[in-house]
């Protein structure tokens, strides 16, 4: 594997009230890799994601993005390299029209107007939502909102895409489209999800979190097929694998 894009070394994090949310996490993710973070509710998936662009700061340990150590000083640059898609698209879409929302990041990056225009167009095209450009975001359906939220992040051309529950609240067709898109991205992808079937289709590697620690890590099909492991950590063996590997 070439130099890792995301490297986490001995990361510990406790919330101000003393709750230990992450315990001694170390991970290394290479360029173009798609990694799933799975685990029961409260396992620490979202907390870990919030560390990846410096929104939360580790109590101890360090994070390197593209070789740069994440600190208060480097946070702005790192945020441009790490695109985050949050769980609730309503939190992410706050401008009056879809187009302006997608332009928000590039505008903040100080890009020239024609370059912004180009990026908005290509990001919306990438998620197949060019026709929504002039619509107000709060009028969109859940699937459209999710696609646009992804476009707002793509417009910044990040190296890493970080997603929290990307398939939640989507109808089957919307979910199917999302899976196809996720598969087509060449970015390094880190996806926290309960949708294990999506993991099988999109991710090559799985990291299982429980109680704030990494309890297992390895190739997706191997780990997800381990029924005992899955059940022990509040998960289950995805149905799709039963068809792929009949016993």
């Amino acid at each position: 594997m070439s130099q890792p894009v995301v490297e986490i070394r001995n990361l510990n994090f406790a919330y101000p009230d003393g709750t230990e949310a992450l315990k001694n996490i170390s991970l290394s993710i290479g360029p173009g890799e798609a990694v799933a973070l799975v685990g029961a509710n409260g396992a620490g998936k979202s907390t870990l994601l919030l560390h990846l662009n410096g929104y939360l700061r580790p109590t101890s340990g360090e994070i390197l993005i593209g070789g740069t150590r994440l600190t208060r000083e480097t946070a702005a640059a790192v945020r441009r390299a790490v695109g985050m898609v949050f769980q609730d698209p309503d939190d992410q879409l706050f401008m009056p029209t879809v187009g302006e929302d997608v332009a928000f990041g590039p505008l903040n990056a100080g890009l020239p107007p024609d370059e912004i225009e180009r990026r908005v167009a290509s990001a919306l095209e990438r998620v197949g939502k060019s026709h929504l450009k002039n619509r107000p975001p709060y009028k969109l359906s859940a699937g459209e909102k999710r696609a646009v939220a992804i476009a707002t992040v793509l417009a910044l051309s990040p190296d890493v895409l970080v997603m929290d529950e990307p398939s939640s609240n989507l109808d089957p067709r919307g979910r199917r489209r999302l899976i196809e898109q996720l598969r087509s991205f060449e970015h390094t992808r880190i996806i926290a999800t309960h949708d294990l079937e999506l993991v099988v289709e999109v991710c090559s590697r799985v990291v299982v979190l429980d109680g704030g620690s990494v309890v297992a890590e390895g190739p997706a099909t191997t780990l997800l097929n381990d029924e005992a492991l899955m059940l022990a950590h509040g998960l289950e063996r995805p149905h799709i694998l039963r068809h792929l590997h009949p016993h």
Binding site: L50, R79, F86, D91, Q92, F94, F104, P113, P136, V153
Partner: protein, 257 residues
């Protein structure tokens, strides 16, 4: 109202700043009349009504929005007829007290100013309005604040109504919502909106937000913009100086005799 702000009519194409300043002038002029003036106020309806027609704003939706706010104005004015009972005019055999006049005046002003403000939003759109405010020199914090208030109003209202519905579903038999439940509901709503604010801020940070909302295309002023402003300002001055309604009435009387 904001939806209507997307239309493309001559009024919508006017600069947001010009419309804001004109509406502000309008409100100042309407408010400057003495407290029991009624007839001289009526010509001022020309402003919101003209904009409504040129801006193709459905009168029904406007009327409904005015009604929503009406109780507040009624509450302000309703005691005037009781407090001020001296007779100032007699219509037929009915004596009308000064209190009724000032009540009518309050209601008129209310309808005028609220409709003008609503028409302004409907003809401009919230975003362009806030942008215009900022370019007029309103501190950025307020303009951005207003914009976000508007964006998340729907979501908070939605959360509130979902909570209300779940309270209703579980309070079969009792009609009235207990005070304690109400307090808890409001508290929860506050906490939820704070959590949401935190998440929104987080997602803004993730896209490189540094405290400044940037807009992509500031449009230059066109000749119609100052014309709109000065035209209406001149009308306001005339209508403030002379009682146009009385003069018009006088003309009719002369013609009849």
């Amino acid at each position: 109202m904001d939806e209507l702000g997307r239309q493309d009519t001559p009024v919508h194409r006017l600069d947001a700043r010009v419309k804001t300043v004109t509406t502000f002038l309008f409100i100042v002029f309407v408010m400057s009349f003495s407290r029991d003036e009624v007839s001289a106020l009526t010509p001022f309806f020309l402003f919101p009504v003209t904009l409504m027609f040129l801006g193709q704003i459905p009168p029904r939706s406007l009327f409904r929005k005015i009604l929503v706010a009406a109780p507040f104005a009624v509450a302000v004015g309703i005691f005037n007829p009781l407090l001020d009972q001296r007779t100032v005019a007699v219509f037929g055999a009915t004596p009308v007290s000064g209190g009724w006049f000032s009540f009518a005046s309050i209601m008129l002003r209310f309808v005028l100013t609220v409709s003008a403000a609503l028409v302004l939003v409907a003809c401009t759109g919230m975003h362009r309005l806030c942008e215009g405010l900022e370019r007029l020199g309103v501190p950025r914090v307020f303009a951005v604040q207003l914009l976000f208030l508007y964006r998340y109003l729907f979501i908070i209202a939605d959360e509130g109504s979902r909570m209300l519905r779940s309270i209703e579903l579980r309070s079969t038999g009792t009609k009235k919502m207990r005070f304690r439940v109400y307090v808890s509901l409001v508290g929860h709503l506050l906490l939820r909106s704070m959590a949401r604010a935190d998440r929104v801020y987080r997602s803004m940070l993730a896209r490189g937000f540094d405290g400044q909302v940037r807009v992509s295309r500031p449009a230059p002023l066109r000749w119609a913009d100052p014309a709109f402003l000065f035209g209406w300002a001149a009308f306001f001055v005339v209508a403030r100086t002379w009682n146009l309604a009385d003069m018009l009435g006088g003309l009719f009387m002369k013609g009849a005799s």
